[in-house]
Every structure is written in structure tokens, then in C-alpha cells.
């Protein structure tokens, strides 16, 4: 039976590809309906098949906890000492991702049929969207890091194409390019990490073999620093894709794309790829508490920073974008703290409520004829009841009020952040060989005349190294409290800005022009249905991870247990029920405070209090409005110097050598710079030859 189910995996992946190719090649020649049907139906079929896979996996897991479906399409490359397979893996983790990608993917397709209906490029749009789903499925279903990387690049390319979808607007095209370039920076880290893994781990980057490899310490990779380096490089890649500091700058700009795209790619799926990757490689990351802490702290800072920017933004999509960055930060807090299940749980719930929020925002924008400024909205609850109610539910969910989804996932993250700590003893044991070898090396290096150091010295050295390591791991513990504090702060801000957004949009008086108001309309059914489904999921999806009863009802953790077993070996910790309930109360209190503040300041439209606060804290307000001037900073320290170097070379090589000599030379000669000019005019080939002679001289200098 397993093999039969496995066959579904390539079909799930390839169906959207076929749809994308069809629409890309023939879409412009077929009717709109055909494009919609082909685009949506392929993804829907994939979703149904995914559900079948999920169901069978459930049955299989009941029998054998380690069950997973694997399918090898073909042997891809086998060259030298490394090999990649085109192979798929559906284990509990990827099964969940599969459902999210195809499920939300289908809803967004459905939504887009209405949203993009009057756009001339609808065929192109659906082709890209299908290709995106294909790439994302490759990413989550791939059986090895190479497949993940292909999907990773694929989603990047699709995202680039979709951000720049309305490319006639130069800003939007440039936003696409910015996303691409920033992602490439992250990709360098990722590629180097893959290479290092290839080099150190037997030339295979298959998850199964990597996991086996890192379960046993008797191999070359038993040095904690190397593992930390690899993990950090991987995290650089994750930073790029999942928009973390310092590479988050592309995501807010990515809002230039069509709104359903923002919902699918820049909220629910692609941007969570970094989280997925770290959760996937949990067996590797847990070996390096230092790298994990970096992940956690970067996540925490990102969460607070993005949330604070979100406090003052006035563009409905920008608020949501910063909210996404902030929530992604949350997920990184979780995976950094070792709470991989909680991180993926938040990914899961976030996919629903954030997609719902984006689609709701899209419906508002659509209904108001492309108005995105919330200062020109207000009172829309009367015009758009469906949008308003679904939006409200999602806001409650993201703010973290019980019993909606966000409460459970956020609470799980905060609780585990303080509860967990690395199991130093086991780590010590894992690195035993590494420590000893380092000690041998150091002892040998200290001895002068190459005589062999005695056993005693080595043992002492080993002990010293070990103690140093343990101490450095212990030192990381307080940082968890910092992350917890930042997380709580971010939760407060989140509750506030989300409800500020909600109140500004749907309550108070309408602040735009009357023409738009008269034409404002609720979402048509193709848009309303996805909103309702997603809002429903935003309500119920959290119940999968009930924290009560000592984990007895926590279906989520139980489901992911086989994937995360190794991490549970190396990270430990429990909270007493009292502390746990206390934390829960605290986070509810924080969320309620945020909502309350938003209500008092924005409940009936923007109040004078809010405006007064903004004026009295002008510098802070400006910094937030200006997004901490990070874009400007990058422009100054990275882009301009690069441009300057390029400019310099341009002037030197192009202007001076080629332009001046070959093109301008004759002109100057005519203008009376006769001597120099005429020298240069017929001199250009001579200059080239001079270059050759210089080259020969260099060669000779090297060789003779």
C-alpha cells in the first residue's frame, strides 16, 4: 500500500507544473474560464491527493511511528563523490506543509479568479501562480537538500515574477528585483552550507542519511564550531527567504505584487520556507546551541522591530507585511529555542489567519478601487459584512486571544522558550571525540620537538575544553528570558496594530471620497468563500495543540514527534502547570491590553489622543514611519559604494580606455585637441596591444 500512496507524490508535485505550462503556453489563446479552471483545478486535485496522502500517513503512523512515504523519480546526478536523487519524501512534517501549500494555494487560486478578472495578464498570472505552487511543493516534498534548494530557487523566481507582475510600473519591477537580489545574498549562505554538508557528510544531502550521520558522533563533523558555522550559514539562507534581520527589507516592498500573491507567497507559504528548513534539519541545529541562540535572538529582535514599524504604517498591506515579518520572527524564536513543533504550529496557524487577513485586505482594496491607505477608509463594516467578520476573527486570532488559533501557537512558543534548555550532558557526549581530537592536536602543537604528549596532558586538555564548552552553553541560558520578554512585547504591539488596522478600516466614519463609497461592494462569492474557510480555520486550527492536561490532548506534538525525535533527545525541559497557566494568563492580559489601547485610540477612527501621542513622541514616530531608515542605511553602506566602484571602473575602463580612445578620440581630434587626439585616434588598437604586452610581461614575471 505504501508504494501505491508514494506514487501520488510526484503527481501532486507535477500537476501544478502541467497547469502552469498549459496556461503559460496556451493561456493567451484560450478563454478566461479555461485558464481559471485549469489553474484552480490542478491545485485542487493536488490538494485532494495531498489529503489522501495525509490520511494514509495517519494510518501508517498508527502502525509504525517512523512511517513515511518515499518515492524516487530518478537518479539525478552522480558525479564524483556526490550524488543527488530526484526523490520525494512525505513524513508528518512535509505532509502538513503539503496540506497548507495546496490548501491555501487552491483558495488563493479561487480568490484570484475574481480578483484578477479584469487584468489583461490573467493567463500569465495563473501560469506563475501554478509554477509557484509547483516549486513550493518541490521545496517541501523534496527528499534532500538539493531538491529543497531547487524549490527554494524556484519559489524565489516565481516570487520575483509575481512581485514585478505589473512591471509597467517601474517601482514594482524594481521591488521584484530587490527581492531577487536580497534573496541571492541569503542563497550564498545556503549554497555554501550545502557544499559544506556535501563535503563533510559523505557526499549526500539526503535527509535520512544526514539524520543518520548526525546521530552518530564518530565522523569528521564532531567539532562544535564547524557545526555552528554550517547552521549559521543555513540560517543566513533562511534569513533571506523568511525576511529576518538584516535581510527582511525586501518583504515590505514585495507588497507591490497582486494581493492574493502576497497572501499565498509572502504570508502563508514561501516566506515560511526558512522555518521549514530549520525544522527539517532540527537534528543538525540542536547540535549547536550557539547557532540556535543566534536564530532565537535574531527572531526576537525581528519580531519586535517589525511590530514596532507596523504600529504606525498607514498602508493596509504594509501593516500586514510588517506583521508577517514580525510573526516570522516568532517562528524563529520557536525553532531557535528548540521548540520546533511550536514553530511549525505557529507557521500552520499563521498561514490561515494571515492569508485570511491579506485576502480580506485584497477584498477591501478591490472594493474601494485600489485604495490602500487606511486613513481614507473607515466604517466599511456596513458595506462589507463578510470581509469585516472574517477580518475580525483573524485579528483576534493573530492578537492571541483565546480560544482562537493564534493564542495556542503563540502561547506554546512563549512557554517553551522559557521552559526548554539544551541537554548539555548529551551534547558533551556527542562531541567527546571532537574534544579529544582537539586536545590531542593542541597538546601536540604545544610540545616542541614533536615528541608525543603523554596521556595525562591530553586528558587534562580534553577536560579543559569540555568545561569551556559547557560553560559557554550555560551562558546562553539568560538569553531565553530576553527572547521571552521581546516576544511578549511583540505580542502587545501585534494586538495593538492589528486592531488599529481593523478599527481604522471597518469602524468609525468613512474618510474617503463619496464616489468610492457609493461603489464599494462586498466580496463576490469566489472571494468570500476562501475568506470564510480561512477564518474558520483561524478559529479551529489552534485546537490541534491544546496545552492543557500535560500534553495529553496535544495532537500536534504527537504528530510531529517522529520527525523531531532527535531534537527531543538533546533539548529538554518542562513547566509546572501553575507556571504554564500563569504564562497563559500573562499573554492573554498582554493581548487584551493591546486590543484595549487600540479600541480607546482608534475605536471610532483616529482620535486626537493618538495624534497627540504621535506629536509628543515625534522622533520615535518618525523613525517608525521611516522604518528605522534601514533602506537608506543599506543604500549608503552597501549599494552606493558598490555603484561607486562600478562607476569608477566604468569611468576608468569604459570611458577612459574605450570610449575616450575609440569613440571620442576622433571627435576630440577634430575639436582641436589635435596632438593628443590624433595620437589616441589611431592609437586604440595599439593600446590594446600594449595591454597584451603587459600581459606577456606578467606571464614572464611569473614564469621566468
Amino acid at each position: 500500500m505504501d508504494t501505491q500512496v508514494s506514487v501520488l507524490l510526484p503527481i501532486i508535485v507535477l500537476l501544478p507544473l502541467l497547469g502552469g505550462l498549459w496556461n503559460g503556453l496556451f493561456g493567451s489563446r484560450t478563454s478566461r474560464q479555461t485558464v481559471y479552471v485549469v489553474g484552480s483545478l490542478t491545485v485542487l486535485t493536488s490538494f485532494v491527493l495531498s489529503a489522501m496522502v495525509f490520511w494514509h500517513l495517519r494510518l501508517a503512523v498508527n502502525v509504525n511511528p517512523d512511517a513515511a512515504f518515499r518515492y524516487e523519480l530518478y537518479h539525478w546526478i552522480a558525479a564524483g563523490s556526490y550524488s543527488f536523487d530526484m526523490a520525494f519524501l512525505a513524513d508528518p512534517l512535509s505532509a502538513i506543509m503539503l496540506l497548507v501549500v495546496t490548501g491555501v494555494g487552491f483558495l488563493v487560486h479561487l480568490y484570484s479568479t475574481a480578483y484578477m478578472n479584469d487584468d489583461p495578464g490573467y493567463a500569465r498570472y495563473f501560469a506563475y501562480l501554478n509554477l509557484f505552487v509547483f516549486s513550493m511543493l518541490t521545496l517541501v516534498l523534496g527528499k534532500n537538500l538539493a531538491m529543497l534548494f531547487i524549490g527554494w530557487e524556484g519559489v524565489g523566481a516565481c516570487s520575483y515574477l509575481l512581485i514585478g507582475f505589473w512591471f509597467k510600473d517601474m517601482d514594482k519591477a524594481e521591488a521584484g528585483q530587490k527581492a531577487f537580489v536580497v534573496n541571492r545574498i541569503g542563497d550564498i549562505g545556503f549554497v555554501v552550507a550545502i557544499f559544506l554538508l556535501l563535503a563533510f557528510a559523505n557526499g549526500s544531502v539526503d535527509y535520512d542519511s544526514l539524520r543518520a550521520h548526525f546521530s552518530d558522533s564518530r565522523h569528521v563533523l564532531d567539532d562544535p564550531n564547524t557545526i555552528t558555522a554550517i547552521c549559521l550559514l543555513l540560517f543566513v539562507g533562511a534569513c533571506g527567504k523568511s525576511a529576518q534581520i538584516p535581510l527582511y527589507v525586501w518583504l515590505p516592498d514585495a507588497m507591490a505584487g497582486p494581493t492574493p500573491v502576497s497572501a499565498l507567497i509572502h504570508a502563508a507559504t514561501m516566506v515560511t520556507a526558512g522555518v521549514y528548513m530549520i525544522a527539517r534539519l532540527n537534528f543538525l541545529f540542536v547540535l549547536s546551541p550557539h547557532a540556535m541562540t543566534v536564530v532565537m535572538i535574531v527572531g526576537a529582535i525581528t519580531a519586535v522591530m517589525a511590530a514596532s514599524i507596523g504600529l504606525v504604517q498607514n498602508d493596509i498591506k504594509k501593516v500586514l507585511a510588517y506583521s508577517t515579518v514580525s510573526q516570522l520572527g516568532y517562528m524563529f524564536i520557536a525553532v531557535g529555542a528548540g521548540a520546533f513543533a511550536a514553530g511549525v504550529f505557529h507557521l500552520f496557524t499563521h498561514a490561515f489567519f494571515k492569508a485570511c487577513l491579506f485576502l480580506g485586505a485584497g477584498a477591501v482594496i478591490h472594493g474601494l478601487h485600489h485604495e490602500q491607505d487606511i486613513r481614507k477608509m473607515g466604517g466599511l463594516h456596513a458595506k462589507m459584512p463578510v470581509v469585516r467578520w472574517t477580518f475580525l476573527l483573524s485579528c483576534i486570532a493573530i492578537a492571541g486571544l483565546p480560544p482562537l488559533a493564534g493564542f495556542f501557537s503563540k502561547d506554546a512558543i512563549l512557554a517553551e522558550t522559557v521552559a526548554l534548555k539544551p541537554d548539555v550532558e548529551r551534547l558533551e557526549k556527542y562531541y567527546e571525540h571532537g574534544f579529544e581530537r582537539r586536545a590531542q592536536y593542541l597538546a601536540f602543537a604545544e610540545k616542541k620537538d614533536g615528541e608525543a604528549p603523554d596521556e595525562k596532558a591530553i586528558a587534562a586538555k580534553t577536560k579543559e575544553i569540555k568545561e569551556k564548552y559547557v560553560a559557554s552553553v550555560e551562558k546562553l541560558a539568560p538569553l531565553r528570558k530576553v527572547a521571552f520578554g521581546l516576544g511578549l512585547l511583540a505580542a502587545l504591539m501585534t494586538a495593538f496594530y492589528m486592531f488599529r488596522l481593523y478599527f481604522m478600516t471597518f469602524h468609525g466614519q468613512y474618510r474617503g471620497d463619496h464616489h468610492t463609497w457609493d461603489h464599494a461592494h462586498d466580496a463576490p462569492w469566489q472571494m468570500g468563500l476562501p475568506l470564510m474557510i480561512l477564518a474558520g480555520l483561524a478559529v479551529v486550527s489552534g485546537w490541534l495543540g491544546m496545552p492543557f492536561g500535560g500534553g495529553k490532548f496535544n495532537l500536534w506534538d504527537k504528530w510531529l514527534e517522529p520527525v523531531l525525535a532527535r531534537s527531543h533527545d538533546l533539548v529538554e525541559g518542562h513547566l509546572t502547570p501553575a507556571v504554564e497557566y500563569g504564562l497563559m494568563g500573562l499573554s492573554v492580559l498582554v493581548a487584551a491590553t493591546g486590543v484595549g489601547l487600540a479600541w480607546s485610540w482608534y475605536g471610532k477612527g483616529p482620535s486626537t489622543q493618538a495624534a497627540g501621542l504621535a506629536t509628543s513622541l515625534k522622533p520615535v514616530h518618525n523613525a517608525l514611519l521611516g522604518k528605522y531608515y534601514i533602506d537608506e542605511l543599506y543604500d549608503t553602506i552597501v549599494i552606493r559604494p558598490l555603484r561607486a566602484v562600478s562607476q569608477f571602473l566604468f569611468h576608468l575602463v569604459d570611458r577612459a580606455l574605450i570610449d575616450l580612445l575609440a569613440v571620442r578620440g576622433p571627435g576630440y581630434a577634430l575639436l582641436g585637441v589635435s596632438q593628443l587626439g590624433s595620437l589616441l585616434q589611431d592609437g586604440n588598437v595599439q593600446v590594446y596591444l600594449l595591454g597584451m604586452v603587459a600581459g606577456l610581461a606578467m606571464l614572464a614575471w611569473y614564469l621566468i
Partner: protein
């Protein structure tokens, strides 16, 4: 004798094509359009590819025997590169007719010269002696000079050809001079003789050997357009008719690297070179890094697609040079060979196909005798001519090394090989990666022009032609298909690389194939003897 001729069959086919075209063309009425020579040339080149494939498949290791008194050989390396250059010729034959007709220069000689150039390339890579190498090189170069200047009414084209010719003549002179020294040292011109002469260091010859190496390498660095021998390249690429520029960047580069590999590893190897303490790998690596960096940085500010690609060709020459270094693990060129060698041939295939695809797609703008490849002029191409836009994008992605294109695996393999060659190349490898990131920027810029720039008021016309479409589609398909299933080509490339010095490489190659789960080829003991001096 007959055996020798069988080995030559690809070259004979190409030569036949050249002569047939040349002689029959004048007898055709002047009014007859000469467009059909394109598909005819493609057939001929295709036949040459088939002949090469037959020789390859026949798998007879006697084939590795040098033919014509050890002046030519049909080793796997020769065959691999012969096939590659013939494929370049094939695609160029398909992409040029419509373009040349639009430029009012669709003469029969154009196609004959293409054949001659391909023939010269084949001779060059099959050469086992300096004389044959030089003859091949000159046949190729002279044909390409004329091809570059073929649009004789265009100043740019004539300038391109003339500059290329003048610089090329100097390079040829250098090569000849270097060869003369080598001949003086070795007392023979075949690679085997040279290698035999260099086995033992001879006192008093160091200076002459050094001079010989400097001059020979200088000429090769010119042919592959390495900095600072590169200055002709951007002008020549920009001025030459677009399909010719594609042929130059793909075919000439492939042939030059094929010949360079042979000269480096079949001729200039042995104890004498080691004893000189020549830091040849170090030198090549330095040139490689400088070349890729200069090429990439200079490309950043260009606004003409053809010129960008000229600089990009320089950058790729840098990558490939580094790949050549990777064949030597450490220091000298002694006996510790490490000929995995798949990287350079493999990379070249990817590079050549991508270049041809890009230039073919760029030639669609050559309507009515113009060549509008500037930034503003390319705007809207993606929408008005989706196929050209798509092929262009795919080719650029492959050049940039984005998966799942062939270029990605080329870079991967190259990087892998460079890293394997030794720790001293780690900085070079890092620079290679950084360079390819920089390069992605300007490749992307072209796609931005093509897809995202606002179109001007002028409704542009594009060349729409069946054989051009074929050329674009074939190149694009090859990039994609081989990108998705690269392992077969990789294996062939490993065979080719292993053929440079079979007697040394065999053991390593067998090991590598074994690791890859493939069966090592059965080798007769006699076959490995055959390449050694008799």
C-alpha cells in the same frame, strides 16, 4: 591510412560542406536567395556530429591512437570537443540565414566560412602536434576574422573584424614564436615528443623553456580572451553580426580551451617544467581570478546587451581558466595528476549552448539591417516575441548559473573540482562564487529590459523565421533537458577529461566512475601503451 581517414570523417564532412558551398554558390544565379545554405550547413554539421558520435560509440580504444604520424588523434577529448564545435556551427547555421538576409549580406561565402571555421576548430582540438594545432588555429581564426567583418557596410562590423584580426595576428605570431622555442628544445613538434623531451630537466634550457611557455600561454590567453589579452573581445562581440558573435563566444572559446587543455597537460608536462619551479597553476589561477573579476565588473555598467555578453564571455573565460587549474592538485605539473577533468568540458557545453541561445534570441532584433540591442531598444521584446524573450531569459539564467539550467551544474561541477584541487584554491573558489553573484545582476538586467521596461512608442518589427526559431528552440531545449538530466553528459565529460593523459588518468577515472556507480570502461593494456612514445 583508411583508419586514419575514418578518424578524420567529421573533419572531412565539415570540409566537404565548406568546399561544396564555396564552389556551388558562384554557379547559382545571383537572384537566388542564399538562405537555403543555412539549413544545408546545419545538415552538414549534424552529419559531422553524427560521425563523431559514431566514433565515440564505436568505443575502440585504438581510436585513441594518434593518427597521421602522431599529428592528430581521435581521443575522447578530441571527439567531445569536435562534437561541441560542430553543434555550435549547427546552431549558428540555423540562426544566421534570416539575420544575414535582413542585413543584406546573405552571401554564400558566409556559410562556407562558417564551415571552414568549424573545420579549423575540429583540427585544433584533434591536433596532437604544434604544427597541426597552428594550422587548425589559423583556419579557424582567419575564417572568424572575416565573419566578424562580414557586414562590410557597417563600420562597427569592419572595426570588429579589423581589431580582432590585428590583435589575433600578434597572438598568432606569439604562438608561432613559442612553438619555435618548443621545437628547438624538443627536437620535434608532436606533443608526445615535447613531453618526452621535458621528462628530464636539461641544464641551460630553463630560460628558453620559460620563454616558450610565456609566448604559448600568451597566445592562448588571447584566444580565450583572458585579461589583459581581452580588450578586443567587447568590440569584436559588439560589432560582429549577432549570430557570428554567438559563434565566436561559443565555438572559438570551446576550441581554444580544448586545445589549451591538450597543450597544458599533454605537451607541457614533465620534470623539466617542474624543475623550473614554474608556478604555472598559480599563474593561471591568478589570471583566471583577475579575468572573471574584471569581466564581471566591467559588464555592470554596460547598456548594450551584446557588449554585456562580450564582457560576460571574458568572465566565463576566467571561470574556465580556473577549471583548467583544477586539473593540477598541487604546485607543479609533475606526475601527481588529478584528472577528474569533467568540469571544463562539461562547463563549456553549458556555456556554449547558453551563449548560442542568447545570441540567437538577440538576433531577432536585426530587422532591416539594424542591430538594436541597446537597453531601450530591447524593451517589449518579451511581450511581442515571447519565444525570443523566453529563450533569452533561459540562456541568461543558464549563464548566471540558476538551477535547473545546465549552467548551474556546470558551475557546481567546476566549483567542486576547484575545491577538490587543493586548499590553496579556496580563495579562488570564494571569488568565483562572489563573481557569479555579481554576474547575476547584469544578466538579470537584460531580462528586466526585455520584460519590464516600458515600451517605446515605436512598434518594433522582429525577424520571425523558421530556422531561427529552430535554432532558439534547440538550444533552449538542450539547456533545459541536460539541466534536468545532466548525469549522462557529465559522464561523457569525465571520459573526455580522462583522455588527456589516459595512462595517468585511467586509474582515477575508474575510481570516479565506480564511486558514481557506473561501470569503468574495459581497457586493453595495449591501448594505454599506444599513446606513449614508440
Amino acid at each position: 591510412m583508411l583508419h586514419d581517414i575514418a578518424l578524420l570523417s567529421p573533419m572531412i564532412i565539415l570540409l566537404f560542406g565548406a568546399l561544396f558551398t564555396l564552389v556551388v554558390d558562384p554557379f547559382l544565379p545571383t537572384a537566388t536567395p542564399r538562405r537555403f545554405w543555412g539549413p544545408f550547413g546545419a545538415l552538414i554539421s549534424g552529419a559531422a556530429v553524427l560521425a563523431t558520435a559514431a566514433l565515440w560509440v564505436s568505443g575502440n580504444h585504438e581510436m585513441q591512437t594518434p593518427a597521421f604520424a602522431a599529428h592528430l588523434s581521435a581521443s575522447r577529448l578530441s571527439l567531445f570537443f569536435t562534437a561541441l564545435t560542430a553543434v555550435c556551427a549547427l546552431l549558428t547555421h540555423l540562426s544566421s540565414p534570416a539575420f544575414m538576409d535582413e542585413q543584406d549580406h546573405g552571401f554564400g561565402e558566409f556559410y562556407a566560412l562558417l564551415h571552414f571555421a568549424a573545420f579549423g576548430m575540429a583540427v585544433m582540438v584533434a591536433a596532437e602536434s604544434l604544427i597541426t594545432l597552428f594550422i587548425g588555429l589559423e583556419i579557424m581564426s582567419l575564417s572568424v576574422y572575416v565573419l566578424a567583418a562580414f557586414k562590410r557596410t557597417s563600420l562597427a562590423s569592419v572595426e570588429a573584424g579589423l581589431k580582432y584580426f590585428i590583435m589575433g595576428s600578434v597572438a598568432s605570431a606569439m604562438l608561432l614564436y613559442g612553438m619555435a622555442f618548443l621545437y628547438g628544445i624538443a627536437g620535434g613538434t608532436t606533443y608526445v615528443e615535447i613531453q618526452r623531451a621535458l621528462v628530464v630537466p636539461k641544464p641551460g634550457l630553463d630560460l628558453w623553456l620559460g620563454l616558450a611557455v610565456v609566448l604559448t600561454m600568451g597566445a592562448f590567453l588571447f584566444k580565450v580572451a583572458a585579461v589583459p589579452f581581452h580588450m578586443w573581445a567587447p568590440d569584436a562581440y559588439e560589432g560582429a553580426p549577432t549570430p557570428v558573435a554567438g559563434f565566436m563566444s561559443a565555438g572559438v572559446k570551446a576550441a581554444a580551451f580544448g586545445a589549451l587543455l591538450k597543450v597544458l597537460y599533454a605537451a607541457l608536462a614533465g620534470g623539466a617544467i617542474d624543475s623550473l619551479h614554474l608556478s604555472m597553476p598559480k599563474m593561471l589561477a591568478t589570471f583566471a581570478v583577475v579575468t572573471m573579476t574584471v569581466g564581471n565588473i566591467a559588464a555592470l555598467r554596460q547598456t548594450n546587451a551584446k557588449r554585456i555578453l562580450g564582457f560576460s564571455a571574458i568572465a566565463h573565460a576566467g571561470y574556465l581558466l580556473l577549471g583548467c587549474v583544477a586539473w593540477v592538485p598541487d604546485g607543479g605539473l609533475g606526475d601527481h595528476y588529478h584528472v577528474a577533468g569533467a568540469a571544463v568540458p562539461f562547463y563549456l557545453v553549458g556555456y556554449a549552448l547558453a551563449s548560442l541561445a542568447v545570441f540567437a534570441a538577440l538576433s531577432v532584433v536585426g530587422k532591416g539591417g539594424q542591430e538594436l540591442t541597446g537597453q531601450a531598444q530591447l524593451a517589449g521584446l518579451g511581450r511581442r516575441y515571447p519565444l525570443a524573450g523566453a529563450v533569452l531569459t533561459l540562456g541568461l539564467l543558464s549563464l548566471a548559473g540558476v538551477p535547473p539550467t545546465l549552467g548551474f551544474f556546470g558551475k557546481l561541477e567546476l566549483l567542486h573540482e576547484v575545491l577538490r584541487a587543493g586548499d590553496q584554491y579556496v580563495p579562488h573558489a570564494v571569488l568565483l562564487v562572489l563573481n557569479s553573484v555579481v554576474a547575476a545582476y547584469y544578466y538579470l538586467r537584460i531580462t528586466v529590459w526585455v520584460y519590464m521596461k516600458p515600451e517605446g512608442k515605436v512598434e518594433r518589427e522582429y525577424i520571425r523565421d523558421r530556422s531561427l526559431t529552430w535554432s532558439m528552440s534547440l538550444a533552449a531545449l538542450a539547456i533545459l533537458c541536460v539541466g534536468i538530466l545532466p548525469s549522462r553528459l557529465m559522464r561523457m565529460a569525465a571520459f573526455a577529461g580522462g583522455a588527456v593523459r589516459p595512462q595517468v588518468a585511467r586509474a582515477h577515472l575508474d575510481h570516479q566512475l565506480e564511486v558514481a556507480g557506473l561501470k569503468p570502461p574495459v581497457v586493453k593494456a595495449a591501448a594505454t601503451e599506444a599513446v606513449l612514445p614508440r
